[in-house]
C-alpha cells in the first residue's frame, strides 16, 4: 500500500518535465545556433529554431582549418579520441595489475605500496601544475600523445575499486585454480579478468569521460594544434575573433566535443550507473 495523491503525481511529472526542458535548453540553443550563419545569428537574440546552414557549419569545421586553430576539428577529435582511449585503457590496465598484486600476493612493503597509490588522490594535477609540467618537459613529452596520456594514467580510484572487487572473489576459486595448475598469470587471464568484465566496462565509461573532458593538462602540454584536444580548442575559438565571436562555429565545435562522451554514457548507461555507485562504496 502506498499513499497516493493524484495531484501530487501530476505536479511531480510537471516539475520533472520542466527540469528536463531546462536541462536540454543549452544544448538545444547550441544546435539551433550551429545551423545559422554569422550574419543571421547577429540579427537579434539567439534563435530558437534552425537556420539556413543546415549541417554546413559542421561540415566546414570538420574539413577546413578553423579560425586561428590552424587545423580542422577532425584532427582535434582524433587527438581527443586517442587521449581518452589511452587514458581509459591505461588506467584500467595498470590498476588491474596493481590491485592484483596487492590482493593476491604477500610481499614486503605491500601496505606501503597501497598507500602510495591511494595517497595520489590527494595530488590532482591542479595542485602540482608547474612541477609536473616541468617533468613532462624534461622528458620531452610536450606536444605528444604520450605526454597527453602517460601522466594521467595513475589511478587510485580504479586501483581501489579493483581491490574491493578482488576481495569479494571467494578464496576457494584461487585455491581451485592452484590445484588445477594455474599460476598467477593464468589465474589472472583465465579466471579474474573474465569475472571483472562488468567492472571493467563500468570503469571504462568513467575513465573515458575523464580523459575526454580533461582541460588543464592538455592546455599545458600542447602548444601546437596538431596535438590539441577539442575541449581545449573552444577557448581559442572564442578568443580568436577580434570583434564578433563566431558562435555558429563555436557551437558546432562544442556539439562535436560533447557528442562522443554523451554517446558513450547513453549507450553504456547500465555500466556507467553501476560504476558510479560502486565507486562510492
Amino acid at each position: 500500500m502506498r499513499y497516493r495523491r493524484r495531484g501530487l503525481d501530476i505536479a511531480s511529472h510537471a516539475l520533472l518535465i520542466l527540469a528536463l526542458i531546462a536541462f536540454c535548453l543549452p544544448v538545444w540553443l547550441a544546435i539551433t545556433a550551429a545551423t545559422h550563419d554569422q550574419a543571421s545569428l547577429y540579427t537579434g537574440t539567439a534563435p530558437l529554431w534552425f537556420g539556413s546552414e543546415g549541417l554546413g557549419n559542421f561540415r566546414a569545421v570538420l574539413t577546413e582549418p578553423v579560425g586561428r586553430l590552424g587545423t580542422d576539428v577532425t584532427r582535434l577529435l582524433l587527438n581527443s579520441t586517442v587521449m581518452a582511449l589511452g587514458i581509459a585503457v591505461g588506467k584500467i590496465a595498470i590498476a588491474i595489475l596493481a590491485a592484483y598484486a596487492i590482493v593476491f600476493f604477500r610481499f614486503p612493503l605491500r601496505r606501503l605500496c597501497f598507500w602510495l597509490i591511494f595517497i595520489t588522490l590527494m595530488l590532482p594535477v591542479e595542485v602540482r601544475i608547474m612541477p609536473t609540467y616541468k617533468v613532462a618537459a624534461d622528458l620531452g613529452l610536450l606536444n605528444s600523445y604520450v605526454g597527453l596520456i602517460l601522466p594521467l594514467i595513475a589511478s587510485a580510484t580504479a586501483t581501489f575499486l579493483f581491490r574491493q572487487f578482488y576481495l569479494t572473489v571467494p578464496p576457494e576459486l584461487l585455491e581451485a585454480a592452484r590445484v588445477d595448475g594455474a599460476g598467477p598469470w593464468r589465474f589472472l587471464r583465465d579466471i579474474l579478468l573474465p569475472l571483472s568484465k562488468t567492472n571493467i566496462a563500468a570503469l571504462f565509461v568513467i575513465m573515458f569521460l575523464y580523459g575526454w573532458n580533461q582541460y588543464l593538462w592538455p592546455l599545458l602540454i600542447t602548444t601546437e594544434s596538431d596535438h590539441m584536444t577539442i575541449v581545449v580548442s573552444l577557448k581559442r575559438l572564442l578568443s580568436s575573433a577580434d570583434n564578433l565571436v563566431p558562435w555558429q562555429t563555436v557551437m558546432a565545435t562544442a556539439l562535436l566535443a560533447m557528442l562522443p562522451p554523451v554517446a558513450v554514457i547513453v549507450l553504456m548507461q547500465r555500466y556507467f550507473v553501476k560504476g558510479l555507485v560502486d565507486a562510492e562504496k
Binding site: 500500500m1 495523491r5 501530487l8 511531480s12 516539475l15 520533472l16 527540469a19 528536463l20 536541462f23 535548453l25 543549452p26 540553443l29 539567439a46 530558437l48 590498476a95 595489475l97 596493481a98 598484486a101 590482493v103 593476491f104 600476493f105 604477500r106 610481499f107 605500496c113 595520489t120 588522490l121 590527494m122 590532482p124 591542479e126 595542485v127 602540482r128 601544475i129 608547474m130 612541477p131 616541468k134 613532462a136 602517460l150 594514467i153 595513475a154 574491493q164 576481495l167 584461487l174 589465474f187 569521460l209 573532458n213 582541460y215 575541449v231 581545449v232 577557448k235 557551437m251 562544442a254 566535443a257 560533447m258 562522451p261 554523451v262 547513453v266 558510479l276 555507485v277 562510492e280 562504496k281
Partner: protein
C-alpha cells in the same frame, strides 16, 4: 584471503607500471613543489635562493590570496549546495512517481558526460550580452547582464554552468539512496499519520545523510578542481579577478606571472586542503568498507 605463495618477483612486476607513473608524475613533482616553495627563482632562471618560509609568508600576507580563498569558498558552496538541492528535489520527485523514474534518470544523466569547459561555453552563449537568450530575458526584466564586466554576474555564470553539469551525478546517487529506503518504513510513518512533507523530513532525509555527506565531499572536490575548465573557457578568472579561485590563481601565478616560488607555495597549501578533503572522504569510505 588466499594468496599465491612463493612468488617474490611477480607482485613487483605487476606493481611496476602503477608505481612508476605515480613516482614520476605525482611524487616527484609534488616533492619539487614542496622544495620550490622554499626558494625564490631569479627572473632570468639563472639560479635560486633559499628563502625558508618567505614564499608562504608572502602568499599568506597578500590580500589577493584571501580574496581568491573567499571566491573559492563562495563558488564551491554555491555549486555544491545548488547541485545537491536541485538533484535531491528532482530525485524525490522521480522516486515518488515510480513509473518513469528510470526514464527520467536516463534523460537527466547525460550532462555528466559534458566537459566542464563545454558546459561553460554553452552557458556563456545563453548569457552572452549580445545574443544570449537568458540575458535578453533578464534585460526585459530590467537586469542588465554582462558577465564580462560584472563580477557577480560572472560568478553566477560559472556557478550555473557547474551546477548544470554536476546535477546529474548527484541525481543518480540520491535516486539510488531513495530507492534503497525500505518502503515499509514510509508506510509505517504514513500509518502513524505523517504526511508526505513530514515523512520526507523525519524519515527520508535522515536516512539519506550518508549519501548527502559523500556527495558534499565529491561536489567540493569537483568545484575545487574540475571546474577549472569552466572558468578558463568563460571568464578566465575575470573580470578583475572576480572568478579567480585558488586553483586558477596557482595557474595564473605560475604560467602567466612566472612567480614559481609563490605558485609552489600555493600548491603546497592546496595539497593540505585536498588532504583534508581526502581524509574526510576516507573516513566515509572507512565506515562503509571494511579495511
Amino acid at each position: 584471503m588466499a594468496t599465491f605463495q612463493r612468488h617474490r618477483v611477480t607482485p613487483w612486476l605487476l606493481l611496476t607500471p602503477q608505481i612508476a607513473v605515480v613516482a614520476i608524475f605525482f611524487f616527484w613533482p609534488a616533492a619539487q613543489a614542496m622544495l620550490q616553495a622554499f626558494y625564490v627563482e631569479d627572473p632570468f632562471g639563472l639560479g635560486r635562493t633559499f628563502v625558508a618560509f618567505e614564499n608562504f609568508a608572502r602568499v599568506l600576507a597578500s590580500a589577493e590570496y584571501y580574496r581568491a580563498l573567499g571566491i573559492t569558498v563562495t563558488f564551491s558552496a554555491g555549486v555544491a549546495l545548488g547541485a545537491m538541492a536541485l538533484a535531491l528535489l528532482l530525485a524525490v520527485l522521480a522516486d515518488r512517481v515510480i513509473k518513469g523514474a528510470g526514464a527520467y534518470k536516463a534523460l537527466l544523466i547525460w550532462p555528466y558526460a559534458v566537459a566542464p569547459a563545454v558546459a561553460g561555453v554553452l552557458w556563456g552563449f545563453m548569457l552572452d550580452p549580445e545574443l544570449g537568450l537568458i540575458s535578453a530575458g533578464l534585460g526585459a526584466l530590467g537586469i542588465d547582464w554582462n558577465h564580462q564586466l560584472n563580477g557577480g554576474q560572472a560568478m553566477a555564470l560559472v556557478v550555473m554552468a557547474s551546477i548544470w553539469k554536476q546535477m546529474s551525478y548527484n541525481f543518480v546517487f540520491f535516486l539510488a539512496g531513495l530507492q534503497a529506503i525500505p518502503r515499509s518504513l514510509l508506510e509505517a510513518a504514513a500509518i502513524d499519520g505523517a504526511g508526505p512533507w513530514r515523512r520526507f523530513w523525519t524519515i527520508t532525509f535522515p536516512l539519506l545523510s550518508p549519501t548527502s555527506f559523500f556527495l558534499l565531499v565529491m561536489n567540493s572536490v569537483y568545484a575545487f578542481f574540475e571546474t577549472f575548465g569552466t572558468i578558463d573557457a568563460t571568464t578566465a578568472g575575470g573580470p578583475g579577478g572576480a572568478t579567480r579561485t585558488l586553483v586558477y590563481k596557482v595557474f595564473e601565478d605560475g604560467f602567466i606571472g612566472y612567480d614559481l616560488g609563490s605558485s609552489a607555495a600555493q600548491s603546497v597549501l592546496l595539497m593540505g586542503l585536498v588532504g583534508l578533503l581526502t581524509l574526510l572522504q576516507f573516513r566515509y569510505l572507512e565506515r562503509r568498507v571494511q579495511y
